[in-house]
């Protein structure tokens, strides 16, 4: 009986706080997201004039869950000024408390996956998986590149959590990978490998920005050319003397 009373009291005290957070999330959503994603997260399929003169258009957020909201807000991908632009990593304007409130509100719109908590696993296993699933676009050392119609971001600034989130949702043109394709344990390995690429060992010495074999070869040839010109000058001087 005592326990129930205590719980009831706690509920009475906490309820307004929770409602307050919810209200704050709703207000932030209305101000930053609603013109493109709809007032209740139902999406805006065709361009519709909204608040602040923004031509709103965007996908529904009903069942994307806390996972997607956390990813898009913490990378600065959202809010996006123009729906036709590719979202890219930007300075995050929202405060930590605002992000929490907004993520909570988006999660409450439907039944989506929660925020994952990856624990970096095996680097060698991660390298194999990364080569199979990710390197086609992100390059073998996660430096990013291009796919027709979009830039592929480098993963140097991606946190463990953001890597785990991006694999599941597939932001912009990236495919998404279910737990059947990449298990949570395999995802941990991939995270470990991406972490490794941020500070690789560089056994060959000079890394030249990890741009790959072609620039490395070009630099070698340039150095070799300089050496050859030097030798030629030396030979020429000896012959003239």
């Amino acid at each position: 009986m005592k326990l129930i009373t205590a719980l009831a009291c706690a509920a009475l005290v906490l309820a307004p706080a929770a409602a307050g957070k919810d209200r704050r999330g709703a207000a932030l959503y209305a101000a930053n997201c609603a013109s493109c994603h709809g007032l209740n997260g139902q999406g805006v399929p065709t361009p519709t004039p909204g608040a602040n003169g923004i031509e709103g258009q965007g996908p529904p957020l009903r069942n994307v869950g806390a996972l997607a909201a956390d990813f898009y807000l913490r990378t600065g991908y959202m809010p996006l000024a123009n729906a036709h632009d590719q979202p890219s990593r930007r300075h995050v304007v929202l405060t930590e408390a605002e992000i929490r409130a907004l993520v909570g509100y988006v999660a409450s719109l439907g039944h989506g996956p929660p925020i994952p908590t990856p624990h970096p696993g095996s680097v060698p296993a991660g390298q194999r998986l990364f080569t199979d699933h990710c390197a086609g676009c992100h390059q073998a050392v996660a430096q990013g590149g291009y796919v027709t119609g979009a830039r592929v971001p480098p993963l140097t600034d991606a946190t463990d959590r953001q890597i785990a989130e991006a694999v599941r949702i597939g932001p912009y043109l990236m495919p998404r990978f279910s737990t059947k394709q990449i298990t949570p344990a395999q995802l941990n390995d991939i995270v470990a490998y991406v972490d490794y690429t941020k500070h690789p060992d560089d056994p060959g010495g000079w890394a030249i920005g990890h741009l790959g074999p072609w620039p490395e070869g070009a630099v070698t040839w340039l150095l070799a050319a300089a050496a050859l010109v030097g030798i030629c000058t030396l030979l020429g001087r000896r012959l003239r003397a």
Partner: protein
């Protein structure tokens, strides 16, 4: 046969023949006549011969597939050929060409100038006693090294027996399996992502074996609807341009404003449309990605149902002349 012999004799006479047009002896030499250097010339001839042998050795080593340390022998032989050639050139420059420094004002533009240069070049070679033999030896060395550099091209593919290039390991009714050999069912294939699959029980190293499988909403399938049960389409994973693995799949998060789904090759960005029979959307590929017709059996497994839409693999001179066959 006799004709061939005649031609060979004619070629030999052309190369070695003594039928030189009589050269006019200029009244006045520009370059002082040098002493004939029989010894240096012999050394040059020997070096050219050795360079020829080293070049030929490269070709032999390349042909001997089972040789141990083949790579090292290849490097040694071609390296030696170039080194000997360089040595021969050095000996010619230092011992055989008459060198003399002449300082003179910048010459006026005249017809004689060209003639004078020709005369200098002609006279600089006065130490050579067997000019033609040295030329032939040098040409032989260069030709052999050139041939050695071209020989690896023979490994690029079959020249005459091209039938193999059209063969694919897919038979009607063969099931699709994933990397670990598990048979794929239609329920395994989700939208907005891509899968690599192989023919069950076949050699995965064959160029026609790997395929890429994606699922699109049925309403978006534009061409060959009956090849795509429940919107599941399959294409060869080998790019029709240079034969790289088509390892990229782009899918829009919000289709209204983003590029439509496409299979992309990471090598040169050839981009193929999975909804339109693998048509080329962008890039250097000259023909569509070959599509496989699929069917779903009673147990829900995906099976190959017919023939590829075109020959599998990169472009080559006869790729459009044949059809993929099992």
């Amino acid at each position: 046969m006799t004709k061939l012999k005649d031609w060979l004799i004619a070629a030999a006479v052309l190369v070695l023949g003594r039928g030189d047009p009589p050269t006019r002896e200029p009244e006045e030499r520009i370059v002082a006549a040098g002493e004939p250097e029989r010894r240096a010339e012999n050394v040059v001839l020997l070096l050219f011969l050795l360079a020829t042998l080293a070049g030929a050795a490269f070709i032999v080593v390349y042909a001997l597939d089972r040789l141990s340390d083949q790579t090292q022998w290849l490097g040694l032989s071609i390296g030696a050929a170039f080194a000997l050639l360089a040595l021969a050139c050095t000996v010619i420059a230092r011992r055989l060409v008459v060198t003399e420094e002449i300082a003179e004002p910048y010459p006026e533009e005249s017809e004689d100038a060209q003639q004078e240069i020709e005369q200098i070049v002609e006279e600089s070679g006065s130490r050579f006693t067997r000019k033609r033999l040295v030329t032939v030896a040098g040409a032989g060395a260069l030709g052999t090294i050139g041939a050695a550099l071209l020989v690896p091209a023979a490994s690029l593919g079959p020249l005459l027996h091209t039938g193999e290039l059209y063969r694919v390991p897919w038979r009607r009714g063969r099931r699709l399996v994933d990397e670990s050999g598990r048979a794929l069912t239609a329920a395994d294939i989700e939208e907005e992502t891509f899968y690599t699959a192989y023919p069950e029980g076949a050699d995965r190293e064959l160029i026609g074996a790997p395929i890429v499988v994606v699922r699109l909403p049925l309403s978006e399938i534009h061409d060959r609807k009956d090849w795509a049960p429940r919107g599941i389409v399959a294409y060869s994973k080998i790019c029709t341009h240079a034969g790289c693995a088509v390892a990229l799949y782009r899918k829009p998060t919000f289709a209204a404003v983003e590029p439509r789904p496409a299979l992309v090759c990471p090598c040169h960005y050839s981009t193929f449309d999975p909804a339109r029979g693998g048509a080329v959307l962008f890039g250097p590929a000259g023909r569509p990605l070959p599509q496989l017709p699929l069917e779903i059996d009673r147990s829900g497994h995906l099976r190959f149902a017919g023939t590829f839409s075109g020959p599998v693999g990169p472009g080559w001179w006869g790729v459009r002349m044949g059809k993929a066959r099992s």
